[in-house]
């Protein structure tokens, strides 16, 4: 037989064999998944534990500020790449004491980069594990952390920059979020 023809015929049957074999292999893979544990679960009805507990501690959720620990250095405001933090500090002319009168964060603008919390020396601003900020009105997503003028925190002399007890569940935040 002509070699070309022979090769063509061989190829013809080879193709049939390969098709059937590879399809069987593929179906064996998919069929095996009928016996394997699915990767997903029914959300949110069958969560094993609350989702906040499953997130890692480094998770960067919505920002929260514990104004009692803010020293007013404005690093967070300056380092924010998109200017979503606004801080106003007023000075009492008589007592020379400085007050925090405004600490607003525009959550709708925040891109969760974490630069502010990383640079905060007292960890007054930090990421919670709250990620659900759904709201009807974008204006409700501006969170104003200062209710009444608060005196700035002063680091005790000689002490290292401290860590505030972090509240990953965002108690302040949840209270402040409207709607």
């Amino acid at each position: 037989m002509v070699p070309v023809l022979e090769a063509a015929i061989k190829q013809y049957f080879k193709n049939i064999y390969h098709s059937l074999y590879s399809i069987t292999e593929g179906m064996a893979v998919t069929m095996s998944y009928m016996f394997r544990r699915p990767a997903t679960i029914q959300y949110p009805n069958k969560l094993e534990k609350p989702l906040e507990n499953q997130l890692s501690d480094r998770f960067r959720g919505i920002l929260q500020v514990d104004i009692n620990y803010c020293i007013g250095c404005r690093i967070c405001e300056n380092t924010c790449p998109i200017d979503c933090i606004a801080i106003t500090i007023e000075k009492n002319k008589e007592t020379k004491e400085r007050f925090l009168t405004r600490f607003d964060i525009d959550i709708s603008k925040c891109m969760y980069c974490g630069l502010c919390s990383e640079n905060c020396s007292t960890s007054a601003i930090y990421h919670t594990k709250v990620f659900n900020g759904i709201n009807r009105d974008i204006e409700n997503l501006i969170i104003r952390f200062v209710d009444k003028p608060t005196a700035l925190y002063k680091l005790p002399k000689g002490s290292d920059p401290m860590e505030t007890p972090k509240d990953h569940y965002g108690a302040i935040l949840v209270r402040k979020m409207k709607g």
Partner: protein, 415 residues
């Protein structure tokens, strides 16, 4: 020749149709009732299959699938259907309004008319036509008319692509579908669906699939071309969603859109039932003769069950194929048809003819070969199961180490 519906009618009402004009009216009403039952079955089957397909697909993709509407989500299809019914029926501007509106009806009637000739059990068939198979082919071709009408009249280039592809596909694949059934028709000597089943037996070696290597090849060819006729992956070119957005039904919405997927899932039943009745022994009960079945309503029910189970298994395989395989290209689709399916089925027809002469059905060599062929089939199944087991064990321990949960989670365990 009397249809089974006629016989049933006479049995139920104890009158002959021709006896009086009054009973003729009853008869027409009765026919409508039968049609209603079939339609009810087809529509519900389509809906339930849509749910089942989504659950199977989910498990194959290691997801959970729809499970919110109703217990375990079984009413999802009702919700989807109601949602689509409530949607606005949009007709694109500059579309051919008449054809656009008419197209779903063609698709609808083409498919549901095919149910008339499909057997569901011993004697359970709306009309046992003596040209049953031929009728099913002819009537399902209406679907492609509907698809072309819908695609062309949409005034959308994507939809038109889908329609053209559909035309090329159905015209090509009608041929191997018909050719690959000729061995069955030769073996039976009849085109009637019931006759084909009756000629086979209950055990695997009595099925036509294992009659000879040629019928086995024909079975595969028929299965492939049936997939193509039903627009299932790997042949879902008319609505290739990653290429043509949604193909011929891109511009449809609301109820008119609902008809297309519904027809697709109803078609799933038609395909699988055809495969079952021609090659897999239909509703035949093992070790039970036809006379025994005909005498006992219980056994008739069993036969219905057997047919249903067999068809469901084929449906499952079709669904699994859809979620396993990629889609072929349009030229590869026709190439596959004309260089592989048609020539091989022609060879298989000649081969079956010779085989029938050399090894008659009832002779000892014939039986031995049929047993051998069933053995090969069983071996293939064993290989398949072995590969499934291999795939499962391959990842079991590592998965358990990673996730800290047991890997075993069979499909009957509902999430």
């Amino acid at each position: 020749m009397k249809d089974y519906a006629d016989i049933l009618f006479e049995y139920l009402f104890k009158t002959s149709i021709e006896s009086s004009p009054f009973s003729l009216a009853w008869y027409i009403l009765f026919i409508f009732l039968v049609a209603g039952v079939l339609l009810f079955f087809a529509a519900n089957f389509a809906g339930i299959t849509s749910f089942i397909e989504r659950r199977i697909a989910a498990r194959i993709q290691s997801r959970v699938g729809p499970n919110v509407v109703g217990p375990q989500g079984v009413l999802q299809w009702v919700a989807d259907g109601i949602k689509l019914l409530l949607k606005e029926d949009l007709i694109p501007g500059r579309a051919d309004r008449f054809l656009f509106r008419a197209a779903p009806y063609f698709v609808f009637s083409g498919l549901f008319a095919a149910f008339v000739a499909l057997p569901f059990g011993y004697g359970i068939v709306a009309a046992d036509l003596n040209i049953g198979i031929y009728y099913i082919f002819a009537i399902t071709s209406l679907v492609v008319v509907g698809i072309i009408m819908g695609g062309w009249s949409s005034n959308s280039k994507w939809a038109m692509f889908g329609a053209f592809r559909s035309a090329a596909q159905i015209i090509s694949y009608e041929i191997p579908t018909a050719l690959s059934l000729i061995p069955v028709i030769m073996l039976t000597g009849s085109l009637s669906t019931q006759d084909i089943i009756i000629a086979q037996g209950g055990m695997p070696w009595d099925w036509y699939i294992f009659h000879s290597p040629f019928t086995l090849a024909c079975f595969i060819i028929f299965f492939i071309s049936a997939l193509a006729e039903g627009n299932r992956i790997p042949f879902d070119l008319p609505e290739a969603e990653s290429e043509l957005v949604s193909g011929y039904n891109t511009e449809y919405s609301g109820f008119r859109f609902l008809v297309f997927p519904m027809a697709e899932w109803a078609n799933l039943w038609v395909i699988s039932a055809m495969v079952t009745l021609t090659y897999l022994g239909g509703w035949q009960i093992p070790f039970v003769s036809l006379e025994t079945i005909s005498g006992s309503p219980f056994l008739i029910l069993i036969s219905v069950g057997i047919f249903f189970v067999k068809t469901s298994i084929v449906v499952f395989i079709v669904i699994q194929l859809r979620w396993t395989l990629p889609r072929v290209r349009v030229d590869q689709m026709t190439l596959l048809c004309w260089t592989y399916l048609v020539p091989i089925s022609l060879v298989a027809i000649v081969g079956t003819m010779v085989w029938m002469l050399v090894f008659p059905w009832d002779g000892t060599p014939g039986l031995l070969i049929r047993l051998l062929m069933s053995g090969i089939g069983a071996a293939a199944c064993l290989f398949y199961i072995k590969r499934i087991r291999f795939n499962y064990l391959n990842d079991k321990l590592l998965f358990e180490r990673l996730k800290g949960k047991p890997s075993w989670y069979p499909f009957w365990r509902l999430p």
